[in-house]
Structures are given as structure tokens and as C-alpha cells.
Symmetry: C2
Subunit: 450 residues, 2 copies
């Protein structure tokens, strides 16, 4: 640049101690940049370069120096039921079916409505933002409230167009679920933060005809399909008994095994099924803490990675995990992956960070826009303070992020260049109001079950 040229005026410059792009041009990049800054303008990453070049070329409205801190792409939580946050800890340490049938389903029957979902979503979004998550992939009742709340708080979200065979508070049956879902998608077509996925709940709750219809539309319009699949051995066993087929085979026959599919859980996988998933470009949303806590099983993540399957990470809902903390989830994914396949090399810190960012972006077909720190991408960014007693000394920042850092070390969060967390504080929420609301609901719900 000509030294007489005026520096460009931009919105923000961020100068972290460690800049971790995670990916470049769609490829893995296990590398940390030092003495580099990121330039944000109009919501987009305009430049990434050594500090002295940035200082010469740009003048920013705000320059944020992050000494002792790492900057990573915003975390992508690829499987949530966010509005369930008001049920967190309602009934723990119970067998899965007892938990569902005697606690969660009756509580949902009694409490889930627009108002409950709005309150739960605010609490969940506050929790996600504070812990560095910038985008979530949701499946729950009242998706219109999810979309509306995400839009209100400027969170990036993929909203599940929920479907069951049976009626619920959100619809009367497959026809209406499909209609309402697509209508909602249409309502938000001009909002670049809000995206949509089909969300047929599970193979055992949605029958062939509506699944076939979803496959057709999904393949035509490239809409993701977000579905619980092979969560437990019992599910596979029941399907074999009822249909003579494992669920994955049935979904293949219904043309659902495509790059649009986000298969959640997948704890039960045979060798040939892993190859099938790889061949068809299916993404897995791995939820290690939910799978452990509900004793569902363990997904063979390293085998899937080796086969070339795209892995994303999700927390699952607050009632089963019981938090929406992607730091805990990355760490659990790494640790569980290692002990499951008997190799300390498996599921490395970098691979899990990739899964929690770019892996999620790919699953949601948003990888041109988010998932890595690259010029031209949206400025969805998370800063993590590693200058803490528990993260010092820092030999390898990626290792410290996955194995030592906690959500409390998230200092700044941007979505589309907008600050959502500043100096550990939520920008758009009043925490005291959220806490009061959570207590209010807890009292109502406790009263009804005791």
C-alpha cells in the first residue's frame, strides 16, 4: 500500500494474542497465528493480517486488544431443544423411558406454549452467548417463537420445521406440520440470520409417507434435515422388530441419506453404515454428554472422522445435558472418543474444535458464511481469555481451549459483527430479569408436580 494513502475507516479491529482460523478454503487448518489482527466491517471479516499492516491500513471505530486471549470462530451448537431450559434438572438420574414418560412428556404437555418457549429461549440464548455459541440448530415445539426470539436477540439459528405423526401443541399431524414449517420458512426468507431445516423428530415417530415428502423437497431445495437417528440400541432393536430394517436402511430407501441430512446421536453404527454415511455425505451431530447422561451409547466419532464423515457437536436440550456449554461438550467429545477407541491420539483437541465450529457450519450448509475466521466470512467470533490460573501456562492454545478453558473465560462474542458479549457481560439481556423469570417458572412448575 502506498504510504501516503489514507487508512480505511472500518467498524472494528480485534487483536488477539492467538488467532485460530480453524479452516481455510474448506480445508482443515490446525494452526495458530500470533501478532495478527482481524478487521470487521459491516458484519463481515474484511481483512486478516499482521498487526503492523492492519495498523497502517485501517482506522477502526473500536479497536479491541485481547492480550492473553484467543480468538476462534463462534461456536456452532448443532443440536438443541433450547426452550427446554426451564426444565433443566427437573428429573435427573432416572431411566430414559421413566424420565420421558413420567416427567418430561407430562411437563411438556402441561407447560409448553408460546409464553413458556419465549421465556425458555431467552434463558437458553443468554446461556449460549455467554459460553461463546453464536449459532444453534434447534428442534422443538413453537418454532415460530424460536425464530422470533433468535431474530430479536440477533443470534444465528437454524430453526427446525418440527414433524411427528401425531398431534402436538404445534400441529395436528404431518400435513399441518409441513405446511406451517414451510410457511414459517417463507416468513423469514429475507433474514440472513435465521435459516430452516426439516426436523422430523425420529424414525420411530414419523412414518414413510411424510419422510418421503421431506426427502423430495429437501433434495430439490437443498434444505437440511435434522433428525434423531440411532440414539439407543433399543430404538434399532424396536425398528428391526417392527420393520425388519435398521432405521438407517429405511432412511436410505426413503432417499434421506444425502449431504442435507444432520443425523443426531448415532450411537449405534455398524462398519458398513459408517461407510454408507461417508459415501452419502451425511453429517453427524454428536452429543456426547447427552448420550452419556441418558446412557444412550457412544458414537464412534474417530472411526467416522477416519471414514471422512463430517462431525458436528451439539449439547442436546438443557433437560438432558444439563447445560448448553460447548466447551464442556468439546472436552467430553475428545475424552469419550479417546477412551471409546482405546487411543489417546483419537479425537484430538483440534478435531473437536473443528467439529464445534466448521463441522457445524458444514452440517447446516452455512460453511461459505461461518465456521472459520476467513476474509469474506461473517464476523461470528468468540474470544477466550487464557490468562487464568486454570489455563496457564499456555504451550498450545488449542489444547488449552479444549482441555482447560471453561465458559467463564469467554470475554467477547460477535455475531455478524455485532457485539453480543462485551467483557464477559451480555449486551442485549438483563441478567437479573432472566434469573427472576427462571425462578418464577420454577415455582409454577414445581408447584404443579409436587
Amino acid at each position: 500500500m502506498d504510504s501516503t494513502q489514507q487508512p480505511s475507516l472500518v467498524d472494528t479491529i480485534i487483536s488477539p494474542e492467538w488467532l485460530i482460523p480453524v479452516s481455510i478454503n474448506g480445508q482443515k487448518l490446525d494452526k495458530t497465528l500470533v501478532n495478527h489482527s482481524v478487521v470487521i466491517d459491516k458484519g463481515t471479516i474484511l481483512d486478516i493480517a499482521p498487526n503492523h499492516e492492519i495498523q497502517q491500513n485501517y482506522q477502526a471505530k473500536e479497536h479491541i486488544n485481547l492480550i492473553g486471549q484467543a480468538l476462534i470462530p463462534g461456536l456452532v451448537n448443532c443440536h438443541t431443544h433450547a426452550a427446554m431450559s426451564l426444565f433443566k434438572g427437573l428429573a435427573d438420574d432416572l431411566p430414559l423411558m421413566l424420565w420421558l414418560q413420567n416427567h418430561i412428556w407430562p411437563a411438556e404437555q402441561q407447560w409448553v406454549n408460546d409464553q413458556f418457549c419465549a421465556a425458555g429461549l431467552q434463558l437458553a440464548m443468554a446461556e449460549m452467548l455467554k459460553s461463546g455459541t453464536t449459532c444453534f440448530n434447534d428442534m422443538y415445539f413453537q418454532p415460530h417463537i424460536t425464530a422470533k426470539t433468535a431474530k430479536k436477540y440477533g443470534m444465528r439459528a437454524t430453526i427446525g420445521m418440527l414433524m411427528f405423526d401425531f398431534p402436538s401443541v404445534w400441529g395436528s399431524g404431518p400435513e399441518e406440520y409441513l405446511h406451517k414449517g414451510l410457511q414459517l420458512r417463507d416468513d423469514y426468507k429475507h433474514n440472513d440470520l435465521i435459516n430452516f431445516a426439516f426436523a422430523p423428530h425420529a424414525p420411530y415417530t414419523v412414518s414413510d409417507a411424510p419422510l418421503k415428502k421431506i426427502a423430495t423437497i429437501s433434495n430439490e431445495l437443498a434444505i437440511p434435515v435434522h433428525m434423531h437417528i440411532h440414539e439407543t440400541a433399543q430404538e434399532v432393536k424396536d425398528a428391526l422388530k417392527a420393520t425388519g430394517k435398521r432405521p438407517l436402511q429405511r432412511l436410505q430407501e426413503l432417499d434421506l441419506l444425502t449431504p442435507n441430512l444432520i443425523a443426531v446421536h448415532m450411537t449405534q453404527l455398524q462398519r458398513t453404515e459408517i461407510e454408507l454415511l461417508a459415501r452419502n455425505g451425511v453429517s453427524i451431530a454428536h452429543c456426547p454428554q447427552s448420550n452419556m447422561k441418558l446412557a444412550s451409547g457412544i458414537s464412534p466419532i474417530q472411526e467416522l472422522l477416519t471414514a471422512g464423515v463430517n462431525i458436528a457437536i451439539g449439547t442436546d436440550g438443557n433437560a438432558s445435558n444439563n447445560d448448553l456449554d460447548m466447551f464442556g461438550e468439546m472436552e467430553s467429545a475428545a475424552m469419550l472418543g479417546k477412551v471409546f477407541c482405546g487411543s489417546a491420539q483419537a479425537c484430538s483437541a483440534y478435531e473437536m474444535l473443528f467439529a464445534a465450529t466448521m463441522g457445524g457450519a458444514k452440517a447446516l450448509a452455512q460453511d461459505e458464511l461461518i465456521g472459520s475466521i476467513e476474509i469474506g466470512k461473517a464476523a461470528d467470533l468468540t474470544a477466550i481469555n487464557l490468562n487464568t490460573i486454570s489455563s496457564q501456562p499456555v504451550y498450545d492454545p488449542i489444547s488449552q481451549i479444549v482441555y482447560t478453558a471453561g465458559r467463564e473465560q469467554v470475554s467477547y462474542v460477535w455475531i455478524n459483527g455485532q457485539l453480543k458479549v462485551r467483557e464477559y457481560q451480555l449486551v442485549d439481556f438483563d441478567e437479573n430479569e432472566l434469573l427472576a423469570s427462571a425462578k418464577h417458572w420454577q415455582q409454577k412448575i414445581s408447584h404443579s408436580i409436587n
Copy 2:
């Protein structure tokens, strides 16, 4: 009490929203008290009663109201190599033997001395106190520095009288290790915070004769024995090949399977061995995150609990975990326990909280003194703020502590009635100094390995 009687003057009254005693008279107590206060005087729990009674009967120099907070017994970390904190994240995601042989052992050879240990221990103690741990059971080189540093900062510790067959920076061989260890124990016999355990490293590093000697002295003087046992399948396989016996059988023949034994890891256990451990009153120090991260295996905790074996919880050293956070460890213990035995009921939140407090106290033969909130016990206490976005709403405080709370929610910590953490801040440490020291060591160590 006569209403005209003057209230007694005491040191401290603590009034938490939830008081969780964990145990009563050595028995399990899965119960939370509300509207109760704890009275501390001269380091001891003097009274526990409803708030109005406490207010009538006592006047305190300091009255701490903990609205929205839970009070639990101080956490007991039952297996650490605390001074290793300066190696945290030095070499991750490597196969166990490569990690040890090419990274950890050479680094130890080069760096471990009194000065390194003192710096590492300060960082580790600061991390433990901030995350609610009041007592730790350590095994590492330079135990005289561990004892000295714990005494200096008023932390309760059981110091391992380390032993190998081979020489190290701490001694020339079994004779000297034994002599130096017992001498050190003698030096601290009048300090009620510092206790000692024999710490023969592992069955494969200490031969029969010194182990026999340890068994004799341990049984005579009721000194705990802290030892890595059955950490990996390879260890058991190698022992079978070398001796024709599984390590546990050999230890039984050496009279080491007694209530004094703290068997660390124990990922390889046969049904008959579980019964043997139960019959002989052996305690297990369960380190789930280390076992996962190093792909060592999974200890059958629920089976051990069902058989009546006492379970304690440890983090292992910072180089293998990579933190000293008992909140993460309790959660991992619960989750891993459930998925391992295929039951969401297994390893409940309460059982894991018991293991992390009273279980550890029992293992260390300190259960008359610590491990529960009971009148007459030492005031080792940890307060946890549950009035946070991620822990609200609170249906069951024990569940929220294990499944949602993080170390950052620890607001107050007392050891022997002395405040160690006040309003989230360490009382006796300068954090900036600790961070500077960690960076100083990181630079020296990095320089030597690159």
C-alpha cells in the same frame, strides 16, 4: 435456651439458601436443608440449626448470607500430582507411552526440582481453592515442598511418601525413600492440616520387599497407602506375563488390601476382584477424566458402589487431565458411569457428590474430621452460587451442582474455619504474580523443548 441468656460470640455464621450436609454419622444423607445456618468457631462447626434459632443463640464476628447459594463440604481431590501444573498442555493427544517417554519423563528429568515444585504447587493450590477443593491427596517428587507449600497456604493435604525401585530427584532407592518419607511425616506430626500416606508409585515400579515393608508399617500405624493400580489393560497383561499374577492378587499376598489402601484408577476389574476390594475395605480413587483422556479404560464405579466399595474422586495431575477441577470430575464420573453400565440411574449426582467429599475423607481416614457438614467437624466448606443463567432454574440443588455448576460459581471457601476464597477471589494469593510465574516457566520449558 432461656430467652434472657446472652447470645454466644462466635467467629462466623453462614446462612446459605441450601445447606447440603452430604453425610450424617458416617451414613449417606441425600438431603438438602433450607433456612438453616452453620456456626463456625475456632475452626470447628459449632452448630447447625434453623436460622431463627441461630440468630437467637449466637452473635458472630462475621455473618455471611448466601442467597441463591449452596453450601457443601469442601471438595476432597483424592489423587493429584499437583506440582505438575507447569506441564499442563505440554503434550496432548499422544499415545500414553509416547507421551510419557518422549515428553513427560524428559521434561521431569530436566525441570523437576524444589523451585519448579514450589511454583507448580502454588499455581495448583490456587486452582484447587478457586474451584472449591479444600483437601488434596498428592503423589509427586519433592514431597517436602508439597508439605511446606500446603502448610504455608493453609490447605489440607495428604502428602505422599513417594517410592520407586529406582533413583529419582527425591531419593536413591526404596531405603532412602522410606526413610525420607517417614522423617518428613515426623517433621509435621504437630500440624493438623498436613497428613501423610505411603505412595509406592505402582505395582510395576516397586518390588515385593519394599511393598511388604510398607504393608507392615501401614497396618501397624494405620497410615494410608496411595498407589496407582490397574490403570491400563497393558499393566495387567505385563504383570501376568512377568509374574503370572494380576497386580491385585500380588498386592493381596503382600497384605496391602486393607482399609488403608487408596487404589487409584482401577479401570481393569473382574467380578471377584470387586468382591475382594469390598471385603477388604479398600477405597478407590476414581479419575474419570484422566482415564478417558489417556484412553486408559473405565472403572466400573456403579458395580463398586453396589458392592459397598468406598469411592473417592481425583483429578490426577494437570498434565493428564488437564485441570484440577472437581466439578468437571464429578460430572464426568456421573456421565461416564451411566454410559458405561447402560443405566441412566447409575452414579447419581448425589453419589458423586458424596464420593467427592465424604468418599475422599474416608479414603484418607479423615472422615471423623472432614467430608460432611456436621457439628464437631472441621469447618472445611465450599459455597456455590446457583443464581446464574446456567444453573437456573433450581429444582434440585444437588443435581444443579453436579450437572450445571462450574468452578467459576465457587464464591467462598473455608478450611478449618479460615477464609481461603472470598467473593470469588483468593485470599492468600496474588493472581498476577502466579500468572507471571507460570509464563516465566512456560518460556523456559518451551525454549528447552523446541
